[in-house]
Symmetry: C2
Subunit: 362 residues, 2 copies
């Protein structure tokens, strides 16, 4: 605990969305101040702390002033430029660091690391041209498959299904037709699950219960903990998460998304992707766990011991409120079993995550 | 629900201490913004919201600007001048209003109201001079008794025990020797309990479980819910709270502190005092109840329906961290069963409430 930042310390957070907002709220509980750094004037995280800097991620003067006003820096989304993290790292500890970010920003690196550590992934091929794509579809990776940009995709953006070999040109055009893509074999999965876990600066590791996730239109719709998988499969998932975190010298909360294939003794996990940050599928922990993923992350970043991840109910459900669905707030507010979290966003654009509702079940 | 303030609305909070801080944090969950109005530069609540005004409670220009920037106003402590609330009330709804504040600022009014509604209190006498005090001690109110200022007392300040009739002059001097005091019969109580409850703008009412409180040096040390009293006694306490709230047209969370005397069929509650605000003995609700007292208050002030007050564990314990006790934060942070709330105060003065720790029990 000699390296722990005491209450009253300020944590810098790169990114001002709902994840940064919930991190700042969780930090306040521990007496940790948050300074948000984000380019958008209407950043929801600006509303819940006294300190923010509105500037671009490549504005070195602003970054330097920011770094000198905080005791450690973290990030709320993975598409922060690695150069920004490298620049800040020369002035202040950044947790997680550039190594983790560089891996998580590229689907190829993620999959390569997972395989190196003995975990399974979907079969894949690197695609830098339409010719690469046609070659892959002719050989080892028959359709159906999914063509994805290696970098900067989220919520289904930068993805195209390739149902038949003849769809290659259309799919290539759909994702922008630029080098830096990956073709992944279509995985006929039973379900999608995630492990949200934390690693401390002392190497301590702690995972929340494996969570089962249901997507709609490529956006997370519903998470339930615990997931309907065997204990052995769950242990495998947590073990892979631990080994990935160790390989990346990771500090903080992160998530590994898995596909579950087969059943019974044939149940298997395939690593889909890693998010080097708190994760939508961990929002249930705010009410459902002794320590929320947000508090856990702030503890790790501040060098505190990790908190208890004991689940507080037989099951916990989280449902996202997307776009217009927040219009239902009066009904939700009147529902005794529903616990509302509103992200403070003014404009309910289609597909935009506006808040979520948690229920302790059973 | 037609009068409910939607998410994105700003609630003004008079007072910038830990109660205002926890109100702002709870409001953020619901998408409600908080604007803190307080005179002290180091107000802990300033740290957790983007909006604050640092000004005195009698600065009408500052109050007017504040009122015009918010949709409703509430308060985090009862010693706000009634004139401030009356001034603001002409510009914006203030919840709770001047009527409740006027009652709660005066021990005589509190006791008179409680008795009018059929509740019991300690015997008391109005004391405006040493002669009054000597007369009371000679007659109906024999020592031991407690002499208290009627207004602006808290955490044992403005109180003096009168163990013998001969102590009258010393006690009178100890509380400042000014008109506006009250002499209360010493109550040989079994325990102290409180009812923390809320009333909505529609008259809806909801109480948390009756909480048992243990004081040290006149400052709350420990609260446990539920209190060790009979169901019937608990119902009486909640019923008195409801009737007091109705009599005061109360909106928001408030607390009634009771002395419990006797036992078994002889168990009785005596109203000690009312706090027109969220209350230290309700802090256990942050983890221990489906809705915390802070969220409940923000719901009431914003005109939302009250939330569920279901307790989440067989028992819940809250222990205050006073002065130096926050120095123990590294030990507390490492204790898996302890949930820390730090109030963000820089200086650990003796007797100052620095934070608290909650445990879900059993």
């Amino acid at each position: 605990m000699t390296t722990a930042l005491p209450p009253g310390s300020t944590i810098g957070i790169l990114g001002g969305g709902q994840l940064g907002r919930m991190l700042a709220l969780a930090g306040a509980r521990l007496g940790l101040r948050s300074h948000i750094f984000a380019p958008e004037e209407d950043s929801p995280a600006f509303d819940v702390t006294r300190w923010h800097t509105r500037a671009g991620y490549r504005d070195e003067a602003a970054l330097e002033t920011f770094a000198r006003s905080v005791s450690a820096v973290t990030l709320e989304f993975e598409n922060i430029p690695v150069g920004t993290v490298e620049f800040l790292s020369r002035l202040v500890p950044v947790r997680p660091g550039a190594k983790a970010l560089r891996c998580a920003q590229d689907r190829l690196n993620e999959k390569a690391l997972a395989r190196e550590l003995g975990a399974m992934t979907a079969d894949f091929a690197v695609i830098d041209s339409l010719a690469d794509l046609e070659r892959a579809l002719a050989g080892p990776l028959e359709a159906p498959a999914v063509l994805k940009t290696r970098r900067f995709g989220y919520d289904g953006k930068g993805q195209a299904k390739v149902m038949r070999r003849e769809d290659a040109a259309a799919a290539w055009a759909a994702i922008g037709g630029k080098p830096g893509a990956i073709l992944e074999a279509f995985v006929p999965f039973e379900r999608e699950v995630s492990v949200v876990a934390a690693r401390g600066i002392d190497g301590g590791f702690s995972a929340f219960d494996v969570t089962e996730n249901e997507h709609r239109n490529h956006i997370l719709h519903r998470s339930v903990a615990p997931a309907r998988i065997s204990e052995a499969t769950g242990r495998m998932g947590v073990d892979t998460a631990r080994r990935m975190a160790e390989a990346l010298d990771y500090v903080g909360v992160f998530a590994i998304e898995y596909f579950v294939t087969g059943s019974g003794a044939g149940e298997r996990l395939l690593v889909n992707e890693m998010a080097p940050r708190v994760h939508n599928s961990g929002h249930w922990t705010i009410e459902g766990s002794d320590t929320s993923q947000f508090e856990q992350h702030m503890r790790a970043v501040a060098g505190w011991p990790l908190g208890s991840t004991r689940r507080r109910a037989p099951a916990v459900e989280m449902i996202n409120l997307i776009g217009d669905e927040m219009g239902e707030w009066t009904r939700i507010a009147a529902d005794a079993g529903a616990q509302l979290q509103h992200y403070g966003k003014a404009e309910a654009r289609a597909g935009r995550k506006m808040g979520h509702v948690t229920r302790l079940l059973g």
